[in-house]
């Protein structure tokens, strides 16, 4: 009925000028969901729930309300619990589970007037980098349906890339927002840890999990994130300070108003580029997997040129412990996951085995049947690193490394304002290509894990294409609470480039 790849900004304008109603947009969105069923991005929709939300938005619009998200169709990663739609976290364990409450993020966006089209497929319990770990089937990349969309927020990224919704929510534990955004050629931001409440997010690794937004543009990401963020007394780790509660949108708007990109928009911007990240270590055939591939490196260099051409300076920064972020992350994340997933025992909710003889076999069989392969791998890894005699060598050691990695970033920020580099060493690979080799898959996260371990905000913005014509993402990392600055510079970049306007169906 309209643009193939609408943005929040364009839809908000049409709502404001009464060209379209929230209900019409919702109907259109549901049609788009159906048209793109082959992507497997969406879980079953509920027409009634969506239209009820749209109707409520239309009532508010009719009453003269003009909030920027009012009536905008979005969708949630199925990690956020919702009272209406079932919440599965991509797992058979929670098949059919309906939460009696909404996640804080869902609640806040509802209050802002968004209309939810439903829930988005993801890796089981957000564990994965390819969305192949969903119990409900892999999500396909809209750019090439034989390829993965990235993970774990693969459904969220694919839904935006395919133009089904202008924006989605997602979560990032070790790169789960940034990497699928890069693989699908869209924009995403994971804020500072603690900026968005985790209440109502099915927990994977509590000290790393953080919700964020996905959209085509940095501006839309800012708008959505602003509505999601803020302290929450139901989450003890949500930050409650002036800095943490400051409006991201207001700071973003003030920032972009202060400098026009064409007028030396990046003057005084010092961009730190991690030496270790940009060293070419892969090859064209991808037989080496321990570093950035050449086509990705080229796209990143071109993107950095855009910044330097408009006044930015590049600073070499060392992040010497980048390689250590992989073992540190997998120890900590698995340890927390092994404990977080203990509640899925078949006693109170979720999957319970049909056959068991006693208490132990009930719990054992339920978990054996309910969890997928990768989830079991991480539970076992986590239980192992926490067990008596190994705790110091693995868990405590990983925590020490985590602290050092955070210190490395702080040392780097002494010399630069933002850090930029690749999101992932490669572009999207073929479905099934790496699923037999978990280590190769884990290596894909090498550039995103450190940011998560340090709790820093990170973004991915589209910046070109690889040799296989799949999108490449530029990672932008800011210091704590620098979301508005990152988003503003990303926005300026998007005013100077059109990578974010390239879409699967209409690639120019």
């Amino acid at each position: 009925m309209s643009e193939a790849y609408p943005t929040i900004a364009s839809l908000a304008e049409r709502i404001r000028t009464k060209q379209i109603s929230a209900t019409e947009l919702a109907e259109d969105g549901l049609r788009r969901v159906a048209d793109n069923a082959a992507l497997n991005a969406f879980f079953p929709v509920s027409r009634d729930l969506t239209l009820a939300e749209a109707k409520a938005a239309d009532v508010r619009i009719a009453a003269g309300e003009t909030s920027p998200l009012l009536g905008i169709p979005i969708a949630h990663k199925d990690i956020f619990v919702t009272c209406g739609w079932p919440t599965t976290a991509g797992s058979k364990m929670l098949e059919g589970y309906i939460s009696p409450f909404d996640a804080t993020v869902v609640e806040k966006l509802k209050a802002a007037g968004v209309v939810s089209l439903g829930k988005l497929n993801c890796d089981e319990f957000a564990m994965g980098s390819s969305n192949e770990n969903s119990a409900f089937g892999a999500v396909k990349n809209p750019w090439d349906r034989s390829r993965i969309p990235g993970g774990s927020s693969g459904g969220s990224a694919a839904a935006v890339a395919a133009g089904i919704v202008p924006a989605t929510t997602g979560t990032d534990t070790g790169g789960s927002l940034r990497q699928p955004a890069a693989m699908c050629g869209i924009t995403a931001i994971k804020p500072t840890y603690g900026r968005v409440s985790r209440y109502g997010m099915v927990a994977f690794a509590s000290s790393l999990d953080q919700a964020g937004s996905m959209a085509h543009t940095a501006q839309d990401c800012a708008l959505l994130l602003d509505a999601m963020a803020g302290s929450d007394e139901r989450d003890s780790t949500s930050l409650n300070s002036e800095k943490a509660n400051a409006s991201i949108w207001r700071a973003f708007s003030a920032n972009i108003a202060s400098k026009h990109p064409l007028n030396k928009g990046f003057e005084n911007l010092r961009i730190g580029v991690p030496k270790e990240w940009m060293t070419y270590a892969g090859d064209l055939e991808g037989t080496r997997t321990d570093g950035i591939h050449m086509d990705v490196a080229v796209a990143i260099h071109h993107a950095l040129d855009v910044f330097t051409n408009h006044g930015a300076t590049l600073v070499d920064i060392p992040l010497p412990r980048t390689a250590l972020s992989i073992p540190a992350y997998y120890v900590i994340a698995s340890a927390e996951a092994s404990s977080n997933l203990s509640r899925f025992d078949g006693v109170r909710y979720g999957h319970r085995a049909a056959e068991y003889t006693d208490l132990n076999s009930m719990i054992f069989n339920s978990r054996t049947e309910g969890f997928g392969h990768e989830v079991k791998r991480r539970i076992l890894t986590g239980a192992y690193v926490l067990s008596h005699g190994y705790f110091d060598a693995y868990y405590l050691q990983a925590q020490r490394v985590r602290r050092l990695i955070a210190e490395d970033f702080q040392a780097a920020f002494e010399h630069c304002d933002l850090i930029m580099g690749p999101v992932a060493p490669t572009t999207a690979w073929k479905i099934g290509e790496k699923s037999k080799n978990p280590t190769a898959m884990y290596l894909e996260d090498i550039f995103t894990l450190g940011v998560s371990l340090a709790g820093l905000p990170g973004m991915s913005i589209p910046c070109g294409f690889g040799l296989n014509n799949m999108p490449v993402g530029l990672q932008i990392i800011g210091n704590y609470f620098d979301e508005a600055k990152m988003l503003a510079d990303a926005h300026r970049f998007q005013q100077l480039t059109d990578w974010h306007q390239q879409h699967p169906g209409v690639k120019s």
């Binding site: 780790t237 404990s339 926490l386």
Partner: protein
């Protein structure tokens, strides 16, 4: 051969907070199953724990109480860990408990054994959440177990001692002293039947001078009496095992009160690896000087301080003051009775005497007394103003206890005609009659036998049905007999 008994006690003190330690659900006892289990208590996906600061205040109070008001043993930063294990009544699959960094370290409890003071050193006290309950009986469907999560998340303070006790009597004295402290400072209701105060005893024996023996932990000691019996049984059992040339195996044992024996629950070999690690959902628990100061200011004086004050400001004997400060309810009751108008010594005598006797007779606790401080004070005032005799007052207390006339003292006096005779001429007439009828006693008194007068007073009192004021009768008798 002399055997030395070594005992350490772990006590789960249920904290008297309105809501649970990490959720807003109520902690009230006895509600319908699962009616007090919130989303957080049920560990629904997406829920997170939020620290209840009231539970922290309880821990601070305890820390101050066992360190004579000194806050040095209260950790300014303590950490909740996850204790991981699977059990149907453990909703999260882990218990939140303080492991490496407890909120209170050290402190001591003084006990009295055989009239001598003994100091029991505390190792630590840490905050944790309780689990739910598995219900295996009383369900409609046979072969089905139920889970009640009302108790899940109830705040507990686990208090651990050093192995300082040397007999079951000492262990019981310690448990009673600890019970006294936690109820005195108001952090626990002390109700052992409802599980608000639960002790586990670690018991070992050794021949004098030898290294510590292998210990067994006895669980389920829900009364002081059971604790004493269980420990004594366990000591006998261990001595027997060693005496027979065997070795005590490290075990957790359950006390069966019906059979008065302890039974093995699990051995050390079955010990689980709980995979403790700091809970990433909770920030470290920070206690500031300000927090401590606020709690300290709100704390009730210690029993010793209160006893001294009772002696100084109410002119009570050490004995009376000590009895009145045996627990907080008694102390408060005394002060309420006094502030309602009763004379202090009279109030002390009656609370420590008549009231205590009544409670004992009815096997009741002072907290359960059916007579309010106001009514009790009114009764004492009727003695003070001469309206009733002490004897009548005792009878009145019985009637008040039974709830007659809603315990209204004046209404009861009227209804039962217990008003003391105030008519002097009437008493004089009775006195005359008694003198006339007891010539022998009169002669004896006049010859110097004081005791004979008491007999005459008794006769008069008897003739008045106890309604005369004995002091008044005494005076009239002396006058009539020309003794004044």
């Amino acid at each position: 051969m002399t055997w030395e008994i070594v005992i350490g006690i772990e006590t789960h003190v249920q904290l008297q907070t309105e809501s649970k330690i990490f959720s807003t659900a109520s902690t009230a006892f006895g509600a319908a199953p699962n009616s007090q289990a919130s989303f957080v208590d049920c560990a629904l996906p997406g829920t997170l724990p939020v620290m209840n600061r009231k539970a922290v205040e309880c821990a601070i109070k305890f820390g101050l109480a066992v360190n004579a008001g000194d806050s040095k043993n209260i950790a300014r930063r303590s950490v909740f860990a996850r204790k991981n294990y699977f059990y149907p009544d453990l909703p999260k699959g882990y218990q939140l408990s303080q492991m490496e960094l407890p909120v209170v370290t050290g402190g001591s409890v003084t006990i009295q054994v055989d009239g001598k003071d003994k100091v029991v050193t505390l190792t630590r006290a840490h905050l944790e959440e309780d689990a739910g309950k598995s219900l295996h009986e009383g369900l409609d469907t046979p072969g089905v177990s139920g889970i009640d999560l009302n108790r899940a998340g109830t705040p507990l303070l686990e208090v651990v001692t050093e192995p300082d006790m040397r007999s079951a009597a000492e262990a019981v004295a310690y448990a009673k002293a600890l019970h006294g402290i936690v109820t005195w400072i108001g952090i626990c209701d002390g109700n052992m039947q409802e599980g608000s105060f639960r002790c586990d005893a670690n018991v070992s024996v050794r021949r004098e001078g030898e290294a510590l023996g292998t210990r067994c932990e006895i669980k389920n000691l829900n009364s002081f009496r059971f604790m004493e019996r269980a420990i004594n049984y366990e000591v006998r059992r261990q001595i027997e095992v060693i005496g027979d040339g065997g070795r005590v195996a490290q075990q957790t044992r359950l006390y069966d009160a019906d059979r008065n024996e302890t039974r093995a629950m699990r051995s050390k070999e079955d010990a689980m690896d709980y995979r403790y690690f700091p809970c990433p959902d909770l920030l470290p628990l920070v206690i500031t000087e300000d927090d401590i100061e606020k709690v300290s200011a709100s704390m009730v004086a210690s029993p010793q301080t209160m006893q001294a004050r009772f002696q100084a400001s109410y002119g009570l004997s050490e004995y009376d003051a000590k009895l009145l400060t045996v627990d907080r309810v008694t102390a408060r009751y005394f002060e309420d009775v006094v502030s309602a108008g009763a004379e202090t010594k009279l109030a002390a005598n009656w609370i420590n005497g008549e009231l205590a006797a009544m409670l004992n007779r009815h096997d009741m606790d002072i907290a359960q007394r059916p007579v309010s401080a106001g009514s009790f004070s009114q009764l004492l005032q009727r003695i003070m103003d001469g309206s009733v005799s002490s004897k009548s007052a005792r009878d009145l207390l019985g009637l008040m206890w039974a709830g007659e006339h809603q315990g209204d003292v004046d209404a009861l006096i009227k209804a039962h005609g217990l008003t003391q005779m105030a008519d002097v001429s009437a008493i004089e007439k009775i006195v005359d009659d008694v003198i006339a009828a007891n010539e022998k006693s009169v002669v004896e008194f006049k010859s110097g036998k004081e005791r004979a007068l008491q007999s005459l007073v008794g006769q008069v009192m008897k003739a008045t049905g106890g309604k005369a004021n004995p002091t008044q009768v005494n005076t009239i008798l002396r006058e009539k007999l020309g003794a004044n």
